[in-house]
């Protein structure tokens, strides 16, 4: 015990104390206390994040990297300070590897276009998986069409786990990029990203990880994963919307062309030619979402302060409890039963459409997501039009899950 503690001492985790920091959770919906089980779509915000954004606008706002006045200096320090914090949070080698984007979607589009335009040629292959969010499918379709490259799909089994043997078979010298989600948003599957990276690198392919779902749930160490690009969204890690992070290996970013043109990303402009700034600024054209970056930096500090080990343990307990209740519920089929799963319970209920369930839950104050979760190929795999998805965050309790299953009982009673 003593030895284990010396590795990483995590603070005490008290869910009541965590909940108290989220003002939005303290409200009634249709005369029921709000039960928020939609953090996989977007997490609620703690006071520290809301206050940080408010304080930034009240006291420190100016444009960054220009202007010699005091406010410009403060805004720049706050913005670049957030970049440094994020770099150390994910164990990046340098803040120069942290590109601020609007979210994971923009991060993936940036790599597909900037890296893809330069590195893909006719006949090359890009590999994604059957469980990707549309954000990690469509950008690759675009670039593959533009470069006449081929998009290959790694299949999964009926538990929602990638078929690693098929992946090995698909890999070849033609494989240039493997873009895979760390945690499936529709199924909760945690993918073996380290193994994927090592296999892909063996054939000389680069690897992008979509970390939108993973970043809020577990410690992200990009050095340990070994990937080349990692993208995640601020609003899912208890930070603001409209801000996210693309991490890329510095030597790769240094060779990549700009994604968008504008101010901030250039060194010198004449009408004949522009010289581009170094990363990350080369990829940050225009005035960035400064307040968003500041808020995200604070959110990440806050999450780190809870202890990511605590967060994972807490959410695993919620998932275990919800899964055991689901198994006892007649007519309920869990979609996504991978061995290694994070805090997402996707299901369907016999005879009741997910959208009817969504409405019934809503009227009892329970917020869940009903739909295809922007992962239509996953729905096709399981032959369902949609599922209900309950996704867990740091503030959820076992009582929240009880409320979910009271909603299920109510729906079954209504539909007889």
């Amino acid at each position: 015990m003593a030895e284990q503690q010396s590795i990483k001492v995590e603070p005490e985790f008290d869910v009541a104390q965590v909940r108290a920091q989220f003002p939005s959770l303290n409200q009634q919906v249709y005369d029921h206390p709000l039960v928020y089980l939609d953090s996989g779509a977007s997490a609620q915000k703690p006071d520290v994040v809301i206050d940080a954004i408010s304080n930034y606008y009240r006291n420190d706002h100016a444009n960054v990297h220009r202007g010699v006045h005091k406010l410009a200096e403060r805004a720049t320090d706050a913005f670049e300070g957030a970049r440094e914090r994020i770099a150390s949070f994910i164990n990046a080698e340098s803040p120069r590897e942290i590109i601020f984007v609007r979210g994971a979607t923009e991060g993936i589009n940036l790599v597909a276009q900037s890296w893809g335009q330069q590195n893909l040629k006719s006949g090359d292959e890009v590999m994604i998986t059957e469980m990707e969010h549309h954000a990690n499918i469509v950008p690759w379709q675009f670039i593959c069409q533009q470069k006449n490259a081929v998009l290959k799909v790694i299949p999964m089994n009926d538990r929602g786990e990638l078929l690693m043997d098929s992946f090995r078979d698909l890999l070849s010298a033609k494989t240039r990029m493997v873009a895979v989600t760390h945690i499936s948003n529709a199924l909760g599957t945690v993918n073996p990203v380290k193994e994927i990276v090592s296999l892909a690198h063996h054939v000389g392919a680069k690897v992008l990880i979509d970390g939108a779902q993973a970043a809020p749930h577990s410690k992200i160490d990009i050095d340990e994963i070994g990937c080349d690009f990692y993208a995640f969204s601020g609003h899912k890690v208890y930070g603001p919307t409209g801000i996210g992070v693309l991490w890329g290996r510095e030597e790769l970013l240094a060779k990549m062309p700009p994604y968008q043109g504008g101010g901030e990303m250039i060194r010198r402009v004449t009408f004949e030619k522009s010289d581009f700034a170094s990363p990350p600024y080369r990829f940050e054209a225009g005035t960035p979402n400064i307040a968003g970056a500041v808020g995200l930096g604070v959110a990440i500090d806050w999450l780190d302060g809870l202890g990511l080990g605590n967060v994972s343990t807490h959410e695993a307990a919620l998932l275990e409890y919800a899964t055991s209740k689901a198994k006892e519920t007649p007519g309920m089929r869990i979609i996504g039963t991978a061995e290694n799963k994070a805090g997402i319970l996707s299901f369907e209920l016999e005879g009741i459409h997910p959208h009817d369930l969504g409405t019934i839950f809503d009227r009892q104050g329970v917020a869940i997501r009903a739909g295809h979760h922007c992962a239509m190929p996953v729905m096709q795999h399981f032959s369902v039009p949609a599922t209900v998805r309950a996704s867990f965050g740091v503030y959820n309790t076992l009582e929240d899950i009880d409320a979910l299953f009271r909603g299920v009982a109510r729906a079954q009673e209504l539909f007889g």
């Binding site: 959208h355 009817d356 739909g371 209504l414 539909f415 007889g416």
Partner: protein, 153 residues
Amino acid sequence: MYDALRELYEDLILDHNRNPRNYPIKPEGTNHSAHGFNSLCGDEFHVHLKIADGRIEDIGFEGAGCAISTASSSLMTEAVKGMKVEDAKTLFTHVHEILTEEQVRDDKQDLLGKLSVLIGVKEYPLRVKCATLIWHTLHAAINKEQGIISTDD
């Protein structure tokens, strides 16, 4: 006790959801069809009409969706089967108005008869598109409109 969910999921709706009428049927002699699809929620239906002498002689629908869209589809087919095309168009207008306009005169509601069960959906703004999908698909079938009809954009 007032039960808002019961207002939406009335027995008639639940019955038509469980046992949709004229489903899954493409009538013999179908000469008008249309395809309705709400991509955000996945409700998807095909409506088939056999129109002769300005009258909907037969109707059927195929596809799948939530209870509201399925029941609305089933009720629609029951209501317009045998109706003059012009009357079906008028009914479409009434249903559309009643489901989408804030204030509706009582006499308008009276026109609907059994279909007035659909009014419960107005308390659920996010679900109105479920109830209207099939009606717009019917309208498209009558007018032989090509392409996919949607009510969720």
